[in-house]
């Protein structure tokens, strides 16, 4: 097994996903033995332009300066992995894409003129080819290590696109939709989180993004049957991954009603 090199880059994000690496604890130390980490600001290793085998990219593209930077990262890396909702779908901040973000700035900030940002927040894949995506807000350490292990072994990482329901039932969780008419997004959302919300009796809010073959229309109709207002349904779909295919359109459908 050759020693692969790694860089961790950040764009607009909360830093929570790269923490998955630091939080790996002993495994992180082991990883520094197995891989050569050339850039990882959160861990104090700095070389922005390092040539690497694997670039882990967190965050969405939302400022002018991000544009050339992501191009350079793509050029300097063999495989590009996005981690988290921001990098993969645009994240929470992509909500501004559907509104007058200039007006938001004026409404919220004391000196909006000092903020330099694009009108939109977009996923990395809107700008450069992405080799593999890890969804979640935030991602888990296990998911990231699993992907790195696969790459070290010379195979493609496994795509976890099954619905959360399957994972939820594997954990013997009782369905919160069936017992409590709660608007759970699990049936259209990717697995991987361990069903943390249903396990504390809460409805999933879709932070892992759309699963494969998601029937968002049927689920939204069910929410309607539970008594949700149209705008509440929109918010269920738009909350974390509003720009993700499937969630975006379903949110729009109920936004227009």
């Amino acid at each position: 097994m050759s020693r692969l090199s790694l860089a961790v880059h950040k764009f607009s994000s909360c830093d929570g996903c790269q923490l998955a690496l630091l939080n790996a604890g002993k495994d992180f130390l082991e990883l520094t033995r197995l891989m050569e980490i050339r850039h990882f600001a959160e861990a104090g290793i700095l070389d922005n332009n390092a040539e690497v085998d694997i670039a882990i990219v967190e965050g969405s593209i939302s400022t002018e300066a991000d544009l050339p930077r992501i191009q350079a990262i793509r050029k300097h890396s063999k495989w590009l992995l996005t981690v988290g909702a921001c990098a993969t779908s645009g994240g929470l901040q992509a909500l501004r894409n559907m509104h007058d973000s200039g007006q938001w700035m004026i409404d919220i900030y004391a000196t909006p003129g000092s903020i330099d940002s694009l009108e939109t927040a977009t996923p990395i894949s809107a700008h450069v080819p992405v080799d593999f995506e890890i969804w979640g807000c935030p991602i888990t350490t296990e998911a990231l290590l699993e992907a790195l292990k696969s790459l070290m072994a010379g195979v493609s990482p496994i795509e976890h696109s099954d619905k959360l329901c399957i994972e939820c039932k594997r954990r013997q969780q009782v369905c919160v939709m069936v017992t409590g008419a709660r608007p759970c997004m699990g049936a259209v959302t990717r697995s991987g989180c361990g069903a943390i919300c249903p396990r504390v009796g809460r409805a999933c809010y879709g932070c892992y993004g759309p699963a494969e073959n998601p029937n968002t229309a049927s689920l939204a109709n069910r929410f309607k049957g539970f008594g949700l207002m149209d705008d509440e349904i929109t918010r269920r779909f738009w909350f974390i991954n509003s720009a993700a295919d499937g969630f975006r359109q379903e949110g729009e459908t109920w936004d227009k009603k």
Binding site: M1, D27, E30, L31, R33, L34, L145, K149, M152, A153, I158, S161, D162, K163, C165, I166, K169, R170, R171, Q172, Q173, V174, C175, V176, M177, V178, T179, G180, A181, C184, G186, A187, V188, G201, E212, N213, N215, A217, S218, L219, R222
Partner: protein, 368 residues
């Protein structure tokens, strides 16, 4: 064994539990968790819910109190015995790199704790017989399933009441248990009738020194059977089998797929669904790797992934696979339908799809 009913007064119920525990079994019984009846460990029957009734419908499960003061007036919860024998996640074997550059393989074994389950229903037992058939009847038997299975002591309860989703009487699997149990209880107003179904069960009854059931108690038992059977929905398994066998081109599949979320809840709660997938979980440095199997579903993308292609990309063929296998091709495979009429797939479908209605829809379409 002699299927003879004895009378177990309420105050001897705990004695039975104590004897079972003393024989080395961890006792599992009804428990309310997350607004549903599940099986959980207990030591005293006082931990069992009393006077609880379940209201079930498509996509709906609700527990309420009632006044009979009975332990077993509810029909069923989200899981039968499946997770106790066919574990949702099971480590199979581990491979380890050795110093001389070879690989060692070793099976993950270990006998799970002996477990006695109180409150098992006839549909659960029928489902267990189907799982046994699948995992144990061909040689070599599945050792992981066998370990989960052989440790069980089963104390069944005849249903006093059916939920609105039940149809076990149609499938021939209930509402009373006929075999597959060690002991079977019938709850009456003032106690239980108890009958043995195995040598272990007979020993337990003998040790309790019970009297034989009286005539009027047996009459109550028969009446209970009538009531629970009458409360049920109907389905003709033979007709269904033939209708579904001719249904491949039916338009109904697309209609159902408009509602179906392809979420796999139905297959997860179904006590006879046994599909799994396997995965490798290597250590970070690659020095060893665990092979694990996990519950899968015919509603997942990977289920029909064969050599680079997913055959059932869309929901309609996935739903068709589930329904036609369970109710039709299962008969070719195992000699009977895969459905025991427990109604769980109806209740626990978050989209509220009713399997009996789906069958009607498909059959109507086939007859056109």
């Amino acid at each position: 064994m002699g299927h003879q009913d004895f009378f177990l007064p309420l105050n001897k119920l705990q004695t039975l539990v104590d004897r079972v525990s003393a024989a080395g079994y961890q006792c599992y019984g009804p428990h309310i968790r997350d607004a549903a009846i599940v099986f959980a460990a207990f030591s005293s029957v006082e931990q069992w819910p009393v006077g609880v009734v379940d209201f079930q419908g498509p996509g709906e499960y609700r527990l309420e109190s009632e006044t009979s003061g009975r332990y077993f007036y509810w029909a069923n919860g989200p899981q039968g015995l499946k997770p106790l024998t066919f574990f949702p996640e099971q480590d199979l074997w581990q491979s380890t790199r050795t110093a001389d550059a070879t690989v060692d393989f070793h099976a993950e074994t270990g006998s799970p704790q002996k477990m006695a389950v109180f409150g098992v229903r006839s549909c659960d037992l029928a489902a267990l017989a189907l799982l046994d058939r699948h995992f144990l009847s061909e040689s070599p038997a599945d050792p992981y399933y066998r370990d989960g299975r052989e440790r069980l002591l089963l104390i069944a309860v005849n249903c006093a009441r059916s939920a609105a989703t039940c149809f076990c009487h149609s499938t021939g699997d209930g509402p009373f248990a006929e075999s597959g149990f060690d002991l079977c209880l019938t709850e009456l107003e003032a106690g239980f009738l108890i009958v043995a179904g195995s040598d272990r069960g007979t020993e337990l009854i003998d040790a309790l020194r019970l009297r034989l059931a009286h005539k009027h108690e047996l009459k109550q038992k028969r009446e209970q059977f009538q009531i629970a059977s009458r409360q049920q929905r109907k389905l003709d398994p033979v007709q269904v089998r033939f209708d579904l066998a001719q249904s491949i081109q039916s338009d109904a599949w697309q209609e159902i797929a408009r509602d179906c979320l392809s979420c796999g809840n139905c297959t997860s709660v179904c006590p006879t669904c046994f599909c799994f997938s396997e995965m490798d979980r290597p250590a970070l440095g690659g020095e060893n790797s665990m092979r694990t199997r996990i519950w899968d579903s015919c509603f997942s993308h990977g289920h029909s992934y064969i050599h680079g292609v997913t055959i059932r990309e869309e929901t309609a063929p996935r739903y068709r696979q589930w329904l036609t296998h369970k109710f039709s091709t299962w008969v070719n495979q195992y000699g009977r339908s895969g459905c025991v009429g427990c109604g769980r797939c109806i209740t626990w479908c978050p989209a509220g799809i009713d399997v009996i209605e789906s069958i009607r829809q498909v059959s109507a379409n086939t007859h056109e």
